[in-house]
């Protein structure tokens, strides 16, 4: 029968029901109760026909249009009447929307990286998967020759190029006439410009990198050296003061959304020829990007290339094997990590994390909005009752509330957009991006639109459903109260809000601590007062001269050199051999470092076995020092005196140095082999300055540098600064999570404030009576607080285990991480409780101080 009433328009209900009642009696008499019931149901269903359908009733759908303008007027009036309340509500919503929008922009930008190339779908990066004694490992490093060989061997590989990721951080010197500048760039194969979409301003993609001495430069570089791109074409630049290159093309400056960043490109093969190490079959140092034919199936191609390397390196298949795998080029920015040999994790973890945070914040804001609106409607029960009495249908009421929520949502989004526009510069600074509000992007606009609709519907539906159900009589009498289920729902919402906020607080605390840990952890070497200078130009052959002159200058304590910058020795290889090592296997991760004699001293390292290098031992030119980890891997009991070799040089181990962090703390400490090579044509000069005498030291350095290497500008960097750069990701994360936690707390507070105020107002009379009966102020405050404290307690109970699991997972990604102590959770819980108590008692106090006469007087 209820079904009938729902479906049927009221004009027909009575007679149909009556007829069915008569028939029911007959059926009951004739066929018994069960049959009668069945027939009844059947006939009700048969009555679902068009003629009596209430939804097609033309009567009630007509006044809809004029109702809109009326609704809007009423909404405007109600807004003005509760100005503070409405403002708070809208502000909370706007903040939540704004925060989510910011994150959304960031996420959208992350996903757009590297996807602007025309051939995106055909571009793949080649990774390796290595099997070693049962362990599977994956890596991005491939041999230098791979691109060329693959295009020759596989018809599906249309084009290929290599890429040397470290070159972006090592600017090279160029000069024209009297202009000398350092620019950062890379090397590429001739087909580079047809693979990637970097538009050329001058020159032709086919010839840009065809000749071995050709160079393609960016607009910026062209303007700096030649004044304009047109003038640059065909000109000659002197590179590193040792070779001349001709500008064959000028390209537009590389956009920020490309992971491949460069101001110039030179010929790949010519570069490989320069250094025999680059021609080694097992030098897995560079990335290789290939372009497949349009019709080629990437899976098939991957299967074909898997064992390609076997033809170049003879591995013992059981002990060790290296396979090639493909990964779409656009993906390698986000999915940059490796797990079990397969690309997984990396930046995408952060992206997903932030995406979820954005959703959470949005959720909190919406919940808040719903809660607060609903609470306020209690006061408007009379209004709703009057509407009902004057003939508003349930549908009309619902549509009114949804409209009101939609208007709020609109205003909220407007304010949110304004907030975002204001915060964008700050946000860009924080994240190192250049985000804008892309109003022209259809995706963005549609997302905004759907946000609006969703929020409006969500927030408006709940109060609408409740309120349209009230009995007018009760409401007009003034005894209207929300049912128990409504209050319970609202309470659950508060619990959810606070759980999310607590989780965010815990995350913030943990992340901050972890970042601080990184920054302050003892690296095992002295980070401060250490300056780097790149080895280039005349400094290469005249290094020893430079060292002699500089080390006695004011402010300088020690000078030495290293083949890689000490804090970021990312270059590692498997080409290490030692006594007793199985010649068929390759152990990756050996970090070779070629240094001067004073390296151990200058770095402040500790020798735990054997001795340091010394110029007094002539044989030391061929000897090695290894670190503790290396000893572990090589399996020597007494390493001193054992024979080891790398890159064609072999000698004895003379000392073992204590493990120190020469790489990011994301990774465990790798084995390291140090040897002496003071004539290596690349590397970094290390200069230890005396404490407090930095300016003098820099002046000294500049003097000597200009004397020895006048053709090039003086360049230097600080070790501790460089080190901090490595953790930029984490720093960004930390600041962002600070901001978001704050936002979440703020919004939750607003919600709590509203609820507390509301709850207090409801019980004004009760408070008055209690005061009259002698209750003290504190007992009244306690009365109200108890309820909310319980809610927060529940939230804590939910949030703590969840956040523990999440944070534990996150910390496990780091080889060196802080402990997840209970302190974090305690602080978060205390904060939440504290805030709750503060907010609630503020409201409760207000009520407690009210004169009972006033509160009891109202009817």
């Amino acid at each position: 029968m209820r079904f009938l009433r729902w479906y049927c328009s009221e004009a027909y209900t009575t007679e149909i029901e009556g007829d069915l009642a008569e028939l029911f009696d007959e059926w009951y008499a004739l066929h018994g109760l069960r049959a009668a019931r069945w027939r009844y149901i059947l006939h009700v269903l048969l009555f679902v026909r068009l003629y009596n359908c209430r939804f097609l009733d033309s009567r009630s759908s007509q006044p809809y249009v004029p109702m809109i303008s009326h609704n809007l007027k009423v909404i405007q009036r109600s807004f003005v009447k509760n100005k503070t309340f409405s403002l708070i509500n809208m502000l909370g919503l706007a903040m939540g929307l704004g925060g989510s929008l910011l994150i959304l922009l960031w996420v959208m930008d992350e996903y757009a990286v590297d996807r602007f190339h025309e051939n995106t779908d055909q571009l793949y990066v080649v990774n390796t998967r290595s099997y070693h004694q049962g362990n599977v490992g994956g890596g991005p490093g491939t041999p230098y020759y791979l691109g060329k060989e693959m295009t020759a061997a596989f018809p599906e590989v249309q084009a290929a190029t290599g890429w040397a990721p470290w070159l972006g951080a090592e600017p090279e010197t160029f000069s024209v006439d009297d202009k000398t500048y350092k620019m950062a760039g890379n090397r590429a194969r001739p087909e580079f410009f047809s693979m990637f979409s970097f538009p050329l301003l001058e020159g032709d993609p086919a010839t840009a990198l065809a000749a071995p001495n050709s160079i393609a430069i960016s607009r910026q570089m062209a303007e700096v050296f030649f004044g304009s791109p047109e003038a640059a074409l065909g000109q000659v630049l002197r590179h590193d003061n040792r070779q001349d290159v001709t500008v064959q093309a000028v390209f537009e400056n590389v956009p920020a959304q490309s992971t491949l960043q460069f101001d110039f490109l030179m010929h790949w093969d010519a570069w490989v020829e320069e250094d025999p190490i680059r021609q080694l079959p097992d030098a897995f140092h560079v990335r290789t990007v290939i372009q497949l034919d349009e019709q080629a199936d990437p899976d098939l191609v991957e299967a074909k290339i898997t064992d390609f390397l076997d033809t170049y390196i003879g591995f013992n298949e059981e002990e060790f094997d290296v396979e090639l795998t493909l990964q779409p080029f656009a993906e390698q920015y986000l999915v940059s990590g490796f797990e079990d040999g397969v690309p997984s994790g990396g930046r995408i973890v952060y992206v997903r994390l932030f995406g979820s945070i954005a959703l959470f914040i949005l959720l909190i804001a919406c919940i808040n909005f719903m809660n607060l609106s609903t609470a306020s409607y209690q006061n408007r029960a009379k209004e709703v009752a009057v509407r009902k009495v004057t003939g508003a249908s349930r549908w009309e009421l619902i549509s009114y509330f949804v409209t009101e929520a939609a208007v709020f949502a609109c205003l909220g989004i407007g304010v949110a957009l304004g907030l975002v526009w204001l915060m964008l510069p700050l946000f860009n600074d924080l994240t190192g991006k250049a985000l804008v509000l892309p109003f022209s992007d259809p995706v963005f606009v549609s997302v905004l639109g759907s946000l609006l609709v969703m929020t409006g519907l969500l927030a408006g539906s709940y109060p609408a459903l409740i309120l349209s159900n009230i009995r007018p009589i009760k409401a007009l009498k003034g005894t209207f109260r929300f049912g128990v289920s409504a209050t319970r729902f609202r309470r659950t919402l508060v619990v959810v809000q606070f759980s999310i906020s607590i989780m965010l607080i815990v995350s913030t605390l943990v992340i901050s601590n972890q970042v601080q840990y990184f920054q302050s952890k003892n690296l095992g070497f002295e980070r401060e007062h250490l300056v780097y200078m790149p080895l280039e130009g005349e400094l290469i052959p005249d290094y020893l001269v430079f060292k002699e002159r500089l080390k006695d200058m004011p402010g300088i304590k020690m000078v030495d050199r290293s083949s890689q910058a000490p804090h970021a020795m990312t270059f590692n290889t498997g080409a290490m051999h030692w006594e007793g090592k199985d010649p068929e296997t390759l152990v990756f991760g050996f970090t070779p470092t070629s240094v001067g004699y004073d390296f151990v001293d200058i770095m402040g390292l500790e020798i735990v076995q054997g001795r340091d290098f010394s110029a007094e031992f002539a044989s030391d030119a061929n000897n090695f020092i290894v670190n503790e980890r290396a000893v572990e891997i090589m399996g020597f009991e007494d390493p001193i005196g054992k024979q080891v070799g790398i890159f064609g040089k072999s000698g004895e181990i003379v000392g073992v140095v204590k493990d120190y962090h020469f790489n990011s703390m994301h990774n465990a400490i790798l084995p390291m082999a140090i040897d002496i090579k003071e004539d290596l044509h690349f590397g970094t000069i290390l200069i230890r300055t005396e404490a407090g005498k930095l300016n003098e030291a820099l002046a000294s350095m500049e003097d000597v540098a200009q004397a020895v290497n006048p053709a090039m500008p003086f360049a230097y960097s600080f070790s501790d600064q460089e080190y901090e750069q490595m953790y930029r990701n984490e720093q960004v994360m930390m600041r962002l999570s600070h901001a978001f936690a704050f936002m979440a707390i703020f919004i939750s507070c607003l919600g709590l404030l509203g609820l507390a105020a509301f709850s207090v107002e409801q019980r004004v009379k009760e408070v008055g009576i209690r005061k009259v009966l002698g209750a003290s102020v504190s007992s009244i405050v306690a009365l109200f607080s108890k309820e909310f404290v319980m809610l927060v307690g529940l939230a804590i109970g939910v949030a703590v285990p969840l956040s523990y699991v999440l944070m534990d997972q996150w910390l496990n990604r780091y080889a060196y991480a802080i402990d997840l102590t209970w302190m974090f959770f305690a602080v978060a819980a205390a904060a939440a409780l504290g805030i709750t108590l503060l907010t609630v008692s503020a409201q409760a106090l207000k009520a407690a101080f009210k004169n009972p006469v006033d509160s009891l007087r109202t009817e």
Partner: protein
């Protein structure tokens, strides 16, 4: 007014309303139809047909006569309009004329 043709069931309903007279409402009409035609009629069909007939102007209705058996709910009572009567007659005339003109031979 155009559209004075009515379907078979509609015609039967109209006739039933005429027969039942004073107490012509859903159930009574249904019973009359069942008695006369010998087929079982669903009450919802009767209701929807009558509503349609009312819209076409052949019958009018009023509410009245609540009884205990109906749980106190009123009945919708139907009555033929002049137009309705006209339509019944017209239909009958057409039928009869056609019936007459069938050659006697068919009936042998």
């Amino acid at each position: 007014m155009r559209g004075t043709s009515i379907g078979e069931f509609e015609e039967l309903c109209l006739l039933a309303v005429g027969i039942t007279g004073q107490d012509a409402y859903g159930v009574s009409i249904k019973k009359e139809l069942e008695r006369r035609t010998g087929r079982s009629i669903t009450i919802s069909t009767v209701h929807s047909t009558l509503a349609r007939l009312e819209k076409k102007g052949f019958v009018t209705s009023r509410m009245g006569g609540a009884t205990q058996a109906r749980g106190g709910r009123a009945k919708r009572l139907f009555e033929l309009t002049a137009y309705g009567k006209h339509v019944i007659n017209r239909t009958r005339d057409i039928r009869n004329a056609m019936w007459h003109d069938i050659p006697k031979l068919i009936w042998q």
